[in-house]
């Protein structure tokens, strides 16, 4: 299945793109997606972030489905 991962702020700049499309095996989880991303993009080494799944904060064991929208959420700093 294919999912889209949105990138913001410092992560968007480090990877020089606003999103990455990932092909994952069926049944993959949020955690598997972030592991795949870290393997593909060494710029993520040492960076901490939360993950949103379809615009809500998600746990690493949440299951993914075709077409899901993931987002890497580096430490927020609104206000």
């Amino acid at each position: 299945m294919r999912v889209r991962v949105l990138l913001f702020a410092g992560l968007r700049e480090r990877l020089a793109r606003a999103h990455v499309d990932l092909d994952l095996p069926d049944g993959a989880t949020v955690g598997a997606a972030t592991e795949a991303l870290r393997a593909l993009h060494s710029e993520l080494a040492g960076r901490t972030f939360s993950v949103a799944l379809n615009r809500r904060y998600a746990r690493v064991d949440a299951a993914l489905a075709e077409g899901d929208e993931l987002a890497l959420i580096p430490p927020v700093s609104g206000g």
Binding site: F8, A9, G10, R56, P75, S77, G78, G79
Partner: protein
Amino acid sequence: MIALVDTPIDAGALLSQGSDPGAAGGGVVAFIGAVRAETKGERVLRLEYEAYREMALAELEALAAATRARFDILALDIVHRVGVLQPGDVAVVIVARAAHRGAAFDACRHAIDTLKQTVPIWKKEVFANGAVWVGDRP
């Protein structure tokens, strides 16, 4: 009113509107967050705010609903600006209205503190000799 905007926020308009006379409270508390001229002694040239818009709006709505449920208030408005802001520009305005001042102060404080921890909005501080995404340390 819960909103993310790209243009200057009129705090005065937010304070004067929304005062439905039938639901007018005795205590109205506003928090206005503005761009600092200096951070750790370094002069700030500008701030660049970025948001995950759809999620930020959803988180702001959830935050407002949770704040209304937790405190005895009549209304809560949150407006956050994104884009490029200069020192002195207003980045966020929160207005809490309650029958009495205590709940309005508490709700306003809770709303801004939670916003800073949960809502996917980021700011980059730009200085004369570099720039940093606030809070983003490896």
